[in-house]
């Protein structure tokens, strides 16, 4: 936990209340070789902030239940909720969502959830701060939601997304991210490919390091709000480097997805 005074510097905001909902699968299609984009119709959905997640609860015929959390790729008002689910090899729920779920199926879900790891456009009277988003793999989902919400609000705040991914085929929301960056000078995208780079890419494949971070993110001196999301080891390494670089712990929000 951080020291006294560095946590609750933002004023308390009202979030749409969380509740249990019944969702109907409206569409499901491949997002990457291991992930699926799932669009849900949720008539009772109150809308959600960018960065929120929801819990999906599955019930087997014998009454056994399994619940897992998934970040929401969509944000704002409306009853259409978009998820992007990556399949975990030994998972209990993700293989079902990726392979077995069909349009028309109903899912029980709890949300929107996440009072901490959310971004909302600054209020009129708030001094805007630059925002640095750092994504590891499927950790991009809530950060994509933030980038999209930033565009939808017509917000001019400087937004940078550093997105670490294995190969070009593993990029989530590739077209949407490109369109957002093309339409908005305030959004800058930086990709780091860790296993295989696209044709014509000038840098070799390699992981995010402290040097990569220093070169491709908003400087600590600019006091950005930083959101880091991805596998636990990625998040912890990146958060450590950010603190070393001078970002204050209270300015860095993290969400760990587990895994390696």
């Amino acid at each position: 936990m951080s020291d006294a005074g560095t946590v609750a510097s933002a004023r308390v905001r009202k979030h749409p209340p969380a509740a249990w909902h019944v969702a109907t699968v409206a569409d499901s299609r491949p997002e990457t070789p291991t992930a699926r984009r799932i669009e849900l119709d949720v008539p009772t959905w109150p809308g959600n902030d960018a960065g929120s997640h929801l819990d999906v609860r599955l019930t087997a015929p014998d009454g056994y239940q399994a619940t897992r959390s998934y970040s929401i790729a969509s944000a704002g008002a409306g009853t259409r909720v978009v998820l992007a689910v990556d399949e975990l090899p030994d998972g209990e729920v993700s293989p079902f969502l990726v392979h077995d779920l069909q349009p028309g199926d109903k899912l029980e879900l709890h949300g929107p959830l996440g009072a901490f790891f959310v971004w909302t456009p600054p209020d009129v009277d708030e001094a805007p701060r630059p925002v640095q988003l750092i994504a590891g793999g499927s950790g991009v989902v809530p950060l994509y939601a933030m980038a999209a919400a930033h565009a939808a609000a017509g917000d001019a705040t400087e937004f940078r997304l550093l997105y670490s991914v294995r190969t070009p085929e593993d990029v989530f929301f590739r077209d949407e991210l490109a369109a957002l960056a093309a339409a908005q000078p305030s959004l800058q995208l930086d990709f780091v490919y860790t296993r295989r780079v696209p044709d014509g890419w000038s840098a070799p494949a390699g992981r995010v390091t402290k040097d990569v971070l220093d070169a491709a993110t908003v400087a600590a001196a600019s006091r950005p709000l930083v959101y880091v999301c991805g596998p636990t080891p990625f998040v912890e390494a990146v958060a450590g480097w950010l603190i070393d670089a001078g970002h204050r712990p209270g300015d860095v929000r993290t969400e760990r997805f587990g895994g390696s």
Partner: protein, 196 residues
Amino acid sequence: MSFITRGFSGRRGDRDPRLPPGQTLVSDWPVLSAGPTPEVDTADWAFVVRTENGSHTWSWDELRALGIEDITTDIHCVTHWTKLEMPWRGVPLDRIWESVETEHEFVMAHSYGGYTTNVPLEDLLDGKSWIAFEADGEPLDPEHGGPARLLVPHLYFWKSAKWIRGLTTMPTDDPGFWEQNGYHLHGDPWQEERYW
């Protein structure tokens, strides 16, 4: 008001008449940890039994010198999986208790890392428990509670405290960690004593 999710079958597993109620059979050995895995060197390891009359400590070699035996037993996790006829090796608690005198009827098991669980003494003695060092023919790895864990197979497996460091006798059946947080004080799988 949950409804059955079309196409979701949940736990894989087989039914078998040797299983207590509510259990399914598994052949692997799931790892469940509620905290960081303690790493304890056997050179530093010690096992302490504390009673109202004092305490007795054994080093790794001293405890093992009391005599290790082979055990083949079923284990039942409260999370519904059961492994049948699992081979273990360990020192019977009866051997250890030859050096112990107490009027107390209950025991709190203490683990490296702070975990605790309570067990009545009558559920530990008379051939019912061991300090175990090996499972499935291999020394216990830290993920599964190594270098040594308590083994009390006739109770739900959360009572078989991993990373055991000692037993403290007590006059009342005070609840250990999970027992304070929703789980049953006793934990008999055949009575399905899972929760409060």
